[in-house]
Symmetry: C2
Subunit: 762 residues, 2 copies
Amino acid sequence: MHYARSPLLFLALLAAASGSNAAASPMFGFRPEEAATERTLEQRFDADINADELRGWLQTLSAEPNHVGSPHDKANADMVLALFQQWGWNARIETFEVLYPTLKHHTLEMVGPTKFVASLHEPPIPGDESSARTSQALPPYNVYGGDGDVTGELVYLNYGMPDDYKDLARRGIDVKGKIVIARYGGGWRGLKPKLAQEHGALGCIIYSDPQNDGYGSGDVYPRGGWRPPEGVQRGSVQDLTLYSGDPLTPGVGATKSAKRLPLEKVRTVLKIPVLPISYADAQPLLAALQGPAVPPAWRGALPITYHFGPGPAKVHLAISSDWGMKTVYDVIATIPGAQSPDEWVVRGNHRDGWVFGAWDPLSGHVAMLAEAKAIGALLKTGWRPKRTLVYASWDGEEPGLLGSTEWAETHAEELRHKAVLYLNSDENSRGFLSSGGSHSLQRFMNDVAASVRDPETDVTVLARLRARMMATGYERTAGAQEKKNGKLAGSGADLPLEALGSGSDFTPFLQHLGVTSLNVEYGGESDQSGVYHSVYDTFEHYVRFGDPQFAYGVAEAQTAGRVVLRVAAAEVLPLQFTGFADTIAGYVDELHQLADDKRKNAEELGKLLDQNVFSLAADPTRAVLPPSREPLVPYLNFAPLDNVATRLKASAKAYDDLYARFVAGSLQLTPAQMKELNALLQGMEQTLTSPRGLPGREWYAHLIYAPGALTGYGVKTVPGVRESIEANKWDDANEYSTLTAAALSAYCERIERATAVLRQGS
Amino acid sequence: MHYARSPLLFLALLAAASGSNAAASPMFGFRPEEAATERTLEQRFDADINADELRGWLQTLSAEPNHVGSPHDKANADMVLALFQQWGWNARIETFEVLYPTLKHHTLEMVGPTKFVASLHEPPIPGDESSARTSQALPPYNVYGGDGDVTGELVYLNYGMPDDYKDLARRGIDVKGKIVIARYGGGWRGLKPKLAQEHGALGCIIYSDPQNDGYGSGDVYPRGGWRPPEGVQRGSVQDLTLYSGDPLTPGVGATKSAKRLPLEKVRTVLKIPVLPISYADAQPLLAALQGPAVPPAWRGALPITYHFGPGPAKVHLAISSDWGMKTVYDVIATIPGAQSPDEWVVRGNHRDGWVFGAWDPLSGHVAMLAEAKAIGALLKTGWRPKRTLVYASWDGEEPGLLGSTEWAETHAEELRHKAVLYLNSDENSRGFLSSGGSHSLQRFMNDVAASVRDPETDVTVLARLRARMMATGYERTAGAQEKKNGKLAGSGADLPLEALGSGSDFTPFLQHLGVTSLNVEYGGESDQSGVYHSVYDTFEHYVRFGDPQFAYGVAEAQTAGRVVLRVAAAEVLPLQFTGFADTIAGYVDELHQLADDKRKNAEELGKLLDQNVFSLAADPTRAVLPPSREPLVPYLNFAPLDNVATRLKASAKAYDDLYARFVAGSLQLTPAQMKELNALLQGMEQTLTSPRGLPGREWYAHLIYAPGALTGYGVKTVPGVRESIEANKWDDANEYSTLTAAALSAYCERIERATAVLRQGS
């Protein structure tokens, strides 16, 4: 369906949005004459992408459960291998041997004051044939939770995040010796049992509250796409904030011969049992809790009054798993570069799902296949990429980015020297372009997005995303960040790349190896999250609620394909630095603000505690204790960061100005100069890494982007400094301020050397 | 129960909080020597207030349903009359004859796609004997709704407020010819059917969503105090934004001989039928709705996905009432003033409830009785008030402030010339002092609050309220206004009086007649709202959840008693103007901001519409239409208000400085000067009224405080200007800016004349 809109304005907007697509405008990476060639190539590429093929591949790949160790996972690897080979790629399967606990037995029951046995079962949904095809499926569980058989009083944890423990403490509630129940949301699932374990809980239940992705969000499956009462979110609780990949082989590839840690030395596997359940199973447990009623932010959408507990509900939780090894099958397909075979453009999407995985990950995977097929068709016309293309169908992402991490660790040295880009995607659906990654690619990504048509509106995907940010920023419900983004979008500036945390296969490339990375997907117009990691993430569900026409699968293939083709063919790699410099300056401002706010808050809280206001204000019949006193915040040395942020802006501008002349055709470079430039640009993201890694987690080497130690998938930028301030570790904050500034200085230096090369142009 | 707290800090705080209570500190209204006498009097007054008596009166008064027209309402009037007389007051019953529709028949059923008949019944609650004593009770209904028998498709309205209609319009949904269902909350109940009627709806259902005062707020009765599934909120839907009181006699007392409007000319009675229902009755109706799912702010706590409709649910709603007259019985008790019998201190609380009315209003009424008894005891010792005391037990507040309004209208001229204060209260319970009213009494009210002990913490009620504002302002969940209030409280400044809107009997005094007014109650620590206006508002509920020890009933009697005794005895009435001047300056700033924000918003929206961003951003499968274009906002003439706000600050400071010297004993006034001053101060609030009244509602004469035309009970300050801006009526805004400024100028002039008198002191 299309909208009535003013045709004149529409045409005007279309023209504006199309501007950068016109033959006359520059294309980042290319001189004008080469850009025209590249555009022609993209038209041929687009012509070979076929929505019906995406649909067919999705149906086949998601026909059976395809988790790690399942027969269909291996069958899918073989099918993908055969397709790549058929399309003319050099393809092979690389395997790794990983620790993969498989559930043998699980029980959850309430033993008092009343009896209730949780069903832990996801029944078939009428009209969804796949959902009945579960003989090969794993039951719902959280992989890498501990084994255990525990009984204890229940405590409700809300999201189980650090602030929730503060709220509990103020009611004098301790989870030590208790079993906790937390709802999904508010932070990464793995932190819930990790923090519970640190606080002395015996076991952890995680449930999907209907407020977050059930009837409180919209109609449930099959009437709508949201989570039905029995739907369960599986998922990994491996502590990926320490490292991703096989728990036994941190930092090295899990090849057959790899040296492995003994299980008892593994820090990323939990000690306590953890179990995900549905809201149908959670309701009787939560309804049986007493103790104080929870505050509004803790309430979900079940038709009960939520209480903290502890008890009187007492539950018995027992889990045991087979702690054996499994094989993961990565399909790796390459086309050697005709001019620069030692410069690699790496593109990946995982292939394993939790059950059928139609949305997650196969919707993104089929777009990647479409790119590969179209590239194969170009090959058959005699075209060759300048740089080497490496396409990867990752296995074992769901349990902990296993396939990608082990491959990246195995090929680490080669990747450090050769990779010019890692481009990731995961699930994909109707909606808006969502792109994140290295901010040196922000300008380039805007340029790519200005060249792809949105299927629903027929403006470019960049114009549509801009419109959405502007519209969202205007709405009555807009938050501060949405208003800010709305203003930014309205100003016509480049739309920001998101900083990447974790939750998909970019992590080992970007944050461990320092490879310039992007994650590019479409979404935001679908009822997806309601079947996330459940048996209901099926082909039937996807074609109703995800992308019925596969139009956004096509858009994804066009977008990712342009990124790959342009980077592979670029005469000078399309990095630009002003966007990165502005982003860094913003982060440094945030760090100042964070320290100042914490200082002010600690002082204010101290005064309030001195005046006893919390005790005086409390209702004596429903006591809420005062908050804990916060340590006073010293003034920190941000000078190194302030100085380098200033230098970075100047360095970036000097480079970008000259680079703009190059792509406009007014500055000529010799092949030798271009080669020198590309050599400087190839590994420059690695200057942002440190062999020391982040405090307490050396595997994470990137000093600008990391998954948060206390947010999980959620990013923390300038993490060494930011998280040290958040954790009141002032010495670490000062030390990482210096370390991060040194990395940024090295980055500046590299830009300045590249600028010197550009200056030699004529 | 008391709290562990640091004894040293506690003592320090106590001492600070007690400062103004020490014999040496000034008492507003009195020279130091007179203040000491007054303090002794207050100690004697306090000694005669007895919690057990409050409990006994509450039990008797709430023993049977006591709505207008019920036998127990009349019996309570007789009992209160007898008590006043027994305590030595001159007491009488004044009656008025008012239009009071009484429900004869009501039906609500869903006629398709499935059948459902609403029970409309509140069954007894085990353990609450009162709740079974309902033979005399009225069934749940909304008095002054229209009669009607309508059938139509149902549409869900959220709160049924203006913004909700904007959300409906953006989904292309029109309520014309439909029956609407709105939830309680978000604005005054009467606006829901009024706006629905204006939008062409056939009928209106109002239900209590469990999110707002049921299990979504806390444990329901009898486990906790919140609304049980069958509980219904009765209430008036008379359009009190036009005028309060008997619909047939606007502006004049509803005496037997009064000239009455024919019913068809009455503007405050609705044309469409309206019915309040429980969430048990609402759930099947809401669950049967389809159409788009609602946005998050529209969702309640029922275990369903909320949809807008319209339909397919089709409902049949029929209501018919007896449109006869009823008598309301006001008990009026007086003690003539010994020195200034023509200066009246009027004190009132209503007596009628919707059913048993233990909380609303009898909890406040019994505190008033305790004051009257203690004053009676003082009388017996030979004490006489300087000014005349008038205590009023109002009838008919629930249907529309009938008893107070008709009495105030009947005695309007006398009140204008004699009243120095109207002090109101309504329901009262454990918690914090809540006071609102004329800001010329802000300083005085802080002084009174600094002299009353909080029963739970043993600091003053002022200190406890200050602590609560500071604590609330600190919490993670604090909103902008709470943070601002927390800062204000932490600064040690006077705590603000709330501006009064409506919803209790102060309205005819303050907003129609311009009598300086206060409303003073305790609350905020109880599970009250869950039984509001239901059959479960019983003695049993109140003594569990309201004020089990009647300690806050005693605190209320002490607080209101001090206000009455001090104002009655003050040598110079204790008005102070700096608080008022600062408040007005704040309001004028808000008006500037309002106009500026609207101007900016209209411009921004216009640009976004020109760029078509809303259509581009919309999901074509779930279309949300663009917002309507807003008219551009001209620059308004705020100069008169800006100028008078500046003048008011200067005038106020000059007066307050001299007055401070008077109460400190360093400025002496002759009896003649005091008399002259009191004469100037008596009617000065009336300078803030205009005979023209507010736009479209001339009965509301006060130019600073009014119930909002689109908020109901919620106040609008400087309403002639503010509401004109909100309604895009620029000429009205300019006109009322001038009119309000002129009133404030007259107020300044009066202050300046009073200051001139003070200057004559020595």
